[in-house]
């Protein structure tokens, strides 16, 4: 297959992710020793993703759907580089901004002002870049009055607003979203969707996980359906979503 790799933003090729089952997790030496002596130190393995392959062209927007525990978030973590594939490869072209959980990089004791710089640094941006975009972030999050308050006193909606504002101030080539818009009020959700569609227009590639099929249909043009770690279907968003809904009994 002769294809120009530069055409693609994300290429996932036969990726398999293996976990040791959580019930078998041994995190203290005594248990380890006992199991070792009894020769029970066998890890029950569990494949969270099996041989997943898909290619996302630049500028496309893919929704990833499936029931709880089917491996959607695992797939996103794999693409972000948090997890390494056990087998197979994941190739990315371009800068990635993960919106996996908004404000994951916040420190509760620091003020919002300090957290903006900290979270920016987590995403790999230096102080000068963040200073230049500081006002833009604060205005988008509508939190100007609360800048010197420690984040631990923020409501979850306020923290999510700030997190979204920081993560999207950069214009990444690839944006990865996992159920992030569930928090925040209606007006803010609208605002976020507008910003996402703006970014899409500028050519950002989007990978989107949501349980709301309506929002996947609205935001995405392609979809990937995974079920218990296996790929069920991929292609046009409407085709895949309809097949999914049919299976779910709607």
């Amino acid at each position: 297959m002769v294809e120009n790799i530069q055409e693609y933003a994300v290429v996932v090729d036969h990726a398999t992710v293996r976990f040791n089952m959580a019930s078998e997790r041994i995190d203290n030496l005594k248990e380890y020793f006992v199991k070792f002596v009894k020769r029970e130190l066998m890890f029950k393995e569990f494949l969270a993703l099996k041989e997943i392959s898909f290619k996302v062209k630049k500028g496309e927007s893919w929704g990833i759907i499936g029931t709880n525990g089917s491996g959607k978030s695992t797939l996103l973590k794999l693409i972000c580089g948090i997890l390494k594939p056990y087998k197979g490869t994941v190739v990315m072209n371009g800068t990635v901004a993960p919106l996996i959980e908004l404000g994951a990089g916040f420190d509760g004791d620091l003020t919002a002002r300090e957290n903006i710089f900290l979270n920016g640094a987590v995403l790999g941006y230096d102080k000068r870049f963040m200073s230049n975009h500081f006002d833009e972030i604060v205005d988008f999050a509508e939190l100007r009055g609360f800048l010197d308050m420690p984040i631990k006193n923020y409501s979850s909606g306020m923290a999510a607003r700030l997190g979204f504002a920081i993560a999207t101030v950069v214009r990444p080539d690839i944006l990865i979203c996992d159920e992030v818009l569930a928090v925040g009020d209606y007006a803010f959700q609208q605002k976020c969707e507008r910003r996402m569609s703006d970014m899409r227009k500028r050519g950002t590639t989007l990978l989107y996980v949501s349980h709301s099929i309506e929002s996947v249909k609205e935001v995405c043009d392609h979809a990937l359906w995974i079920d218990k770690g296996n790929e069920r279907m991929q292609g046009e968003v409407d085709l895949v979503c309809n097949a999914y809904m049919k299976e779910m009994g709607h």
Partner: protein, 262 residues
């Protein structure tokens, strides 16, 4: 080689994060305390004062300038114990962040060691006060003191990386290390002269306790006004380098598995 270059590039990319994490620790340490950073100086002075009272009335060691002798050992030892203890928790403590976004993981233990190091630099203020109060003569060899601090810093970085990765897999390392630190306190000549010990023990400490090398280098310069024994310096540098090499090697080898255990 290629991966090394890539790693260095990644580190350069995440340098702002490293700086932010260090600044965060320093800022938060004394937030909402009335005296703030002054505690970095006051606290070692208070501990030293108590130890001087306790040890100079309980034991009669013939140490010239005992407060100076004490504060040097105490400052270096408390840096080692504080920084490694914090580094030990740095991966498990940032689990939420590591599960959600990609950042190079070694940044966390190294930032903890560095913020502790900066606190130690503040504590040098306390040392300076003691030096002046005890009329220590300043000498040219003191220019070598930063090198000694650097040796300790590199040594702690390696140890911190090792502990941080170990704690991810076995949480009981914290208890073992707690006991180890206690033993280490007594097996380091912080408040007693090493000549007090039986010969075998003295030999063991001189050969297997790197802190002996660092503290003695420091004391030779300040108390004797002489350049430390070359063998001590070489030993200190080699142990520091080894510690960092082993720590980094094990950490990088294990880091991809962290996500499954945090």
């Amino acid at each position: 080689m290629k991966t090394t270059i890539k790693r260095l590039q990644t580190f350069a990319h995440y340098k702002p994060l490293f700086m932010q994490l260090v600044a965060k620790d320093i800022k938060l340490k004394y937030r909402r305390s009335f005296l703030g950073y002054i505690w970095s100086i006051l606290n070692p002075l208070m501990i030293m004062g108590i130890m001087v009272i306790v040890f100079s009335s309980m034991f009669r060691w013939d140490i010239v300038n005992y407060p100076v002798y004490l504060i040097i050992g105490q400052t270096i030892f408390s840096f080692v114990s504080e920084s490694t203890n914090q580094a030990m928790w740095s991966i498990t403590g940032n689990a939420a962040l590591l599960k959600k976004t990609y950042v190079p993981k070694y940044i966390f233990p190294l930032s903890k060691i560095t913020s502790s190091f900066v606190n130690t630099l503040f504590a040098l203020g306390a040392m300076l006060i003691v030096f002046i109060a005890c009329k220590v003569k300043f000498n040219i060899y003191m220019l070598f003191l930063p090198v000694i601090l650097l040796e300790v810093y590199v040594f702690c970085s390696g140890l911190g990386l090792l502990l941080a990765q170990g704690t991810v897999f076995f949480r009981d390392i914290q208890y073992i290390y707690g006991a180890f630190i206690t033993a280490w306190t007594y097996l380091t000549p912080i408040f007693y002269p090493i000549q007090q010990l039986p010969f075998e023990l003295m030999w063991m400490i001189k050969h297997f306790n790197p802190l002996y090398s660092y503290i003695t280098q420091f004391r030779t310069i300040v108390l004797d006004g002489a350049f430390p024994d070359m063998r001590l310096i070489v030993y200190g540098v080699v142990v520091a380098g080894l510690s960092l090499a082993i720590g980094l090697f094990v950490f990088l080898k294990k880091q991809d598995k962290f996500i499954l255990y945090i």
